[in-house]
Symmetry: D2
Subunit: 138 residues, 4 copies
């Protein structure tokens, strides 16, 4: 059985638009935060150190996202993340966000383990790969 | 032959991440700006007035986006937009962004003409529908 | 002795600029989050409910801020907040952020308790005023 | 007589909060854009190239800002910028934004010409200094 990674994110004033709900690009900001948490707290790879000290990161190359129900200011969204596909350098994550008993947002994000300057795909190193495997649901 | 709507957007310091390139949620901020420009300058419906005075808008319910090449600070991205599908209340737009002779970003955004408080789909009113039709490439 | 309100905020990828440090407008996003936390967790006024259900808020009318040391990705900033001045409808807060044993950011924000649509100052209601008083350091 | 630099910025959906007006940190995003425009279009120093190719920039060390009137979605803010003080490495700019015949925002931003990695103040090079001098109102 694959693991999933779960974190709550609160909808903040800065996330909201004139309709008083999350402006959709802000869901991707939250999903990026979720990935940072996942790396640092569950995968054993401090995300900030990866970027800052090693000049690597996980840029997105593709996203698909459905916004199924609006999230007003103050909502606590419970995000759940699993790995849908693990390639040589790519990691495809599936993310689902729920609030008040309802799925609000469902996304698939394809990210690529890369050196950042210049941007270039790199094979996922072994200890990270083993950690990622635990979250593979296929 | 369908029309397309085209606008240049410059990559700003605020769009960029520690890799010095556009942080992917910011592409959606640019694409939303593009839609605002399109409504106001080409469709005959002032986007700000639509939201502010009539309490309506075009929230996204689904996006798909490929990030094909990174855009460093200073890039001028030429965005081109067309309507892929026109429903009773939904408008699906196809957006392509090019810089330095290369396609950098390609997105499909499904938006729904809605009242904002509460959020509720509304049929697209006639004069707007006729304008949208000019950009339908199907 | 006046109370202070203290919360940690982690520097996220989305906060950082091409120099790999917090882009200065993002400090104000963090300080706004801090105020939301303060209202909800310490003042007995749920900030989201205030905005969403009562159409009130605390817009800023003036800010002064010094950026004393840069905060790279991954920094945990310990913010501390106190009330510098309490008016009929205004609340002036003093905020200090520290990381790695150093003061990084020091701000004064003048906010005004207001109805939001239309924007109009309102006297601070009594139970909120009493809570605010506990944080007055003068 | 000193020159001033002037540019219009439109209030976008992404700038606005649940009250339908500019969320105050977004004014600093606009003011940063204004400074980028100023460098690139008036000072003869392409801001993007400065950051990207030379690893230098103009981080803010202090800001003071008054928000005098709210700016709803769609407002066109005419920003005007002048240099209030020119130091060996610092540039203090004064910015005023007007919309619908009213001053909405008034800011002073102290920036420092710096190398970015690591962050370190650098004397302003001569051709840039001469250009900046033209905008000194003292």
């Amino acid at each position: 059985m694959a693991e999933t990674f779960r974190r709550d994110k609160r909808v903040r004033f800065s996330h909201c638009d004139p309709a008083g709900i999350v402006f959709y690009p802000q869901y991707f900001v939250m999903i990026h935060e979720l990935m940072e948490d996942w790396f640092t707290e569950a995968l054993g790879t401090d995300y900030a150190a990866l970027v800052r000290d090693e000049g690597r990161g996980m840029p997105a190359v593709k996203v698909e996202c459905e916004f199924l129900a609006p999230n007003p200011l103050g909502d606590v969204i419970t995000f759940e993340l699993a790995v849908a596909k693990l390639g040589a350098s790519s990691v495809t994550v599936r993310v689902e966000g729920r609030a008040r008993g309802q799925v609000c947002v469902r996304a698939t994000v394809v990210t690529v383990h890369s050196s950042l300057r210049p941007l270039k795909a790199l094979a996922i190193p072994e200890p990270l790969r083993a950690s990622l495997q635990r979250f593979c649901d296929t």
